[in-house]
Structures are given as structure tokens and as C-alpha cells.
């Protein structure tokens, strides 16, 4: 099975470290969620994967081959970045035609079928599309690229709920047809949670979690009750996040619940709650 390895990726800008020693593996046949707060380094990471930017140190490898400046490897990866590289004067169908020069397996028929599903006119220029439709067009290019590794940075930005639902369905369909690896960076965490087999969580340029989604959710629990009871129960435990509203308190605690008193209610956090807890709370 093909796999992409990110090996100790660091990216330093003049005044900021965007990524610091990030290592993980993306295998074909899985959908990954790349999660984190704004400025966590998700876009930088996607740019590294697509050779749009270069790491200060570390390597991105595809089946053991360095991806950097390697056309053969790069043609197996498609990055739909947050920044628009495709000139907006281009028509949707012309973008698809130009993609065929680089990605031989670009499925134009499938792309046109998706255009119909999303009610996107292929004859329109990207500049004539609304923000949402421009993102849809980018998503369609990624889905139709026919490559083994697809990175989608904010694929739902500006999309209405109906289009988001349709997109998730299309991603799943495409995934089951091609088994391509999808790495999806998004802030619509709970909506996408069902898609992700594995989650990669970045915090301030560091990878703080690389786990199976279900396992990750089961790695913590939420204890709710009166503040005094919750404080007593969580004493000595690793509290990831704590919220107090009036006399009530909710704490996200790492580990398995044990010896829970009747005054405390236990539930599993959603992926979004867990992400908030892991990445610094609601601040």
C-alpha cells in the first residue's frame, strides 16, 4: 500500500516557527482529518505536501522517494490549497483541460457530472463564481484529479449546508471508488467527523495527536455536575478543559472514567469538543 511520510518537518519564517518536527504517515485507503486552530500550521503542511513551499528541515516522502522537486512523485499528489493558484480568468472546463496535461488520469466526465450535481456551470470563469462556488470548483478539481493522495485545505469554506452534505457524500463515493488517501483540513469538525478514519491535530506547529478517530474520542470523557462535585471528582486527574456556567461545571478529562459518583454525569466528547480541549480551550 502506497504511503506518504512526513518526516520531522520544520518550517521557520523570520519571526515565527510554523511547523516544528512534525512527523506522521498518510496511507492510501484512509481519510485523514487535519485539525487545529487558525495558525496551527495546517495550510503550511499542505503546501509542503504539494511542493508549493519547502520545509526548512525534514522530508516528505512518497513510497520512500523524496517528494521535493520530484515530478514523478508530485504527479501522484493533488493539493487543493487555501490559496488560489489557478488564475481566476480561467473557465472551469479550461482548468480541467489544463489539468490533463499534468494529471493523466483526470476524469473530466466525472468532473462534469459533479458540476451538474452542484449546479456549477463549467463554462463560467472562476472570477464569475461566488466564493462558495469557487471552493466547489476547487473541490471538483481535486476529486477528479485521479491521483492517489488528495489534500484538501478548507474544502467547505463558504459552502451552504446542502452543498457541504453533498460534498461529504461525493468524497465518500470517490474514496470507495478509488481508495485514494484524502487529507482534509477543516474547521467543520463535527460535520466531517464521520468521514475521518484518523485525526492529525496540530497545535502551534506541533503534532499533538495522530490517532484513530474513535480511539481519540474514547481517550477522554466529559464530567458534568455541580462545580464542587466536578472539582472533587477531577482532583488528581488530567483535566484538558474546564468550563463553568453559574454553579454548574463541565470538565473534559483524559483517560477512562472510574469511580463516578451519582452527582456527576459522564459523556463522550465530540471531536470538536475534544479538539477545543486539546488546543487551549475556548480562548
Amino acid at each position: 500500500m502506497s504511503k506518504m511520510e512526513f518526516d520531522s518537518i520544520c518550517k521557520d519564517y523570520r519571526k515565527k516557527t510554523a511547523l516544528s518536527g512534525v512527523s506522521f504517515t498518510v496511507a492510501k485507503g484512509s481519510i485523514y482529518g487535519l485539525l487545529g486552530r487558525n495558525g496551527a500550521g495546517k495550510t503550511t503542511l499542505v503546501n509542503m505536501a504539494g511542493n508549493r513551499d519547502f520545509p526548512t528541515s525534514g522530508k516528505v516522502k512518497l513510497d520512500g522517494e523524496d517528494v521535493k522537486e520530484n515530478d514523478r512523485a508530485l504527479r501522484r499528489i493533488y493539493c487543493s490549497g487555501a490559496e488560489e493558484l489557478i488564475p481566476t480568468y480561467m473557465r472551469v472546463r479550461d482548468v480541467l483541460a489544463s489539468m490533463r496535461y499534468f494529471y493523466k488520469d483526470t476524469d473530466t466526465d466525472y468532473a462534469l457530472e459533479l458540476c451538474k450535481k452542484f449546479r456549477l456551470e463549467p463554462a463560467k470563469k472562476l472570477s464569475q463564481l461566488s466564493t462558495g462556488y469557487r471552493i466547489i470548483a476547487k473541490d471538483i478539481f481535486a476529486l477528479a484529479s485521479g491521483v492517489e493522495f488528495i489534500f484538501m485545505d478548507e474544502p467547505t469554506l463558504g459552502l451552504d449546508p446542502n452543498h457541504r452534505e453533498l460534498l461529504y457524500k461525493c468524497i465518500l463515493e470517490r474514496f470507495s471508488d478509488t481508495e485514494s488517501a484524502f487529507v482534509i483540513s477543516t474547521h467543520q469538525i463535527d460535520e466531517c467527523a464521520g468521514l475521518f478514519e484518523r485525526c492529525l491535530i496540530l497545535k502551534e506547529g506541533r503534532l499533538i495527536a495522530d490517532e484513530d478517530s474513535d480511539k481519540l474520542r474514547r481517550s477522554a470523557y466529559i464530567a458534568e455536575g455541580k462545580t464542587a462535585d466536578v472539582d472533587a471528582f477531577t482532583s488528581g486527574k488530567e483535566v484538558l478543559n474546564r468550563t463553568t456556567v453559574g454553579t454548574l461545571c463541565s470538565a473534559c478529562v483524559k483517560g477512562e472514567p472510574a469511580g463516578v459518583p451519582d452527582s456527576i454525569e459522564i459523556s463522550r466528547p465530540t471531536l470538536q469538543q475534544l479538539l477545543i480541549a486539546l488546543t487551549g480551550g475556548g480562548v
Binding site: 504539494g50 493558484l85 488564475p87 481566476t88 479550461d94 499534468f102
Partner: protein
Amino acid sequence: MREFLRFSFKSREGLLSYLAMFGSCLLGLFLIHLLLLGILKYDGDSGITEIVIYEWAGAVCAGVSLAVTGGRMLRIAVNGGTSRKSYLYGMGIVSLVFAAISAAAIEIVYIITDLIFECFGMELDYFTHIFMVIHADYSKKINLLSPKIIFFNMIVILLLVLLAYTAALIYMGLKNRVGKKTGLAAAGLLGFTYLISYAYYDIGVFRNIFAWLQYILYNIDDSILASDPAFKEYLIEPEFSYLEAVGIFVSVGLGFFAAAYLIYFLLARRAPVRGRA
């Protein structure tokens, strides 16, 4: 690199896009000439009026077209999984082909314009090829359609296009590395240096090269290209053969281009490619 070359020459976003942009500029220049023709005719101008339009303006148009098209091609190519190395090597070949096509296009439009001017009893200059002069009353006539003259004109224009490309390459290199404004400033400064040194031979480094080229140009013009048996007493001994002169012009053009290309290569090799957020 093969994919990038195929994309450059076959897709709408490559050569076609360049030609559309450059062609529009040439059409604009052509219309300006026709406008000038109307004005000069109306004024009954009978003297010599120098207008320096097609060559330098055509070359500037070619440079701007390359900068715009090249930038777009880079973004599309990188989006298509093309390495910088492939893009940069490919762009070297693409630029030279674009330059040759541009030089040929400028010469064709030049000839068409000249034919139109002839219909009105005037003609574009044939003495220098660089400075175009409208003669209402001319005495020496050469055949502008002679292949030797057409080819030599194209070579001279090619040199100017390659010089314009050097500014375009500096702009493209700095744009991604530092920023658009720096790129524009550097390219503008380089263009201005060319202009000043070319027009007034006043900038140290380029002075000798341009003075030398101008000397060759006059020599080859007077001795070979415009040799008219009726004016034998004015003819001078050629110091360079036709092929030597062509070789010198091509070499100088390629030399300048190679230097700018090297700078572009170094600047763009590790530069991130960004689009609009």
C-alpha cells in the same frame, strides 16, 4: 519537463495566452501608427519624423506579456504537480521560442505598416531598423521584402525582445521571492537603464556594448543591406560579414538573456508559490 512543455505550447494558458496578449498590444501599436499616418498626412508633413515605436514598444509588450503569462503558467504548473526545476528548465526553452515568435510578429506588422505608409507616399525608416523614420520625401529605396533585410531586422528585434525578457525574468524572480513591488521596481529600473544607455550611451556597463552594436548596425546597413548601385560613392567597406553581424546580435541577446535567466533560476528555485488567499 515534457508535460510542462506540452502545456506551454498546446494549452490555452501557454503560447495562445501569450499570443493573445502580445497580439493585442501589437494591434494597438498598429492602430497608433495608422493614427500617426492620418495626423502626418493631414498636416502635410514633408520632413523627416522619427518615431521609435514598433521595435522598443513591441519589445516592451513582449516582455510584459512574458511576465504575465509566465507567472500564470508557474502557478498552474505548480498546481499540476510540476517541480520548480522542470518549470525553470522548461521556461528557458519556452521563453526563447516566444522571443523568436515575437520578433517575427513585430517584423511582419512592421512590413504591413510600411506597405500601408507607402500607399500614402511615405515609408518607415530602413536606414537603421531601430529608429523608424517616416520619409515624405525619400531618395534612397531598398527592398524591405528582401529576405536578407527581413531576417536581419528580425535578429535586431530579437535582441530587443530578449533585453525586455531580462527585465521580465527579474520581475518574475523577485515577485515570488520578495514581492510584486520590488519586482516591478527592479524590472523598471533595468528597463530604464537599457533605455538610457541605448538612447544616450550614458550608462557605464552597457555603454560600450550598445555603442558597438549601433556601430555594427550602421556599418552593415550602409555597406550591405542598403547598398544601392546608384549611390556607389557613398558606400563604405563592410567591416563585418552579414553572418558575423547576425551572430554578434544573437550572441549579445542570448548573453543578456542567460544572465537574467540565471538570476531568475536562483531566485525562483526555492521560492514558495502563492496565490490569492
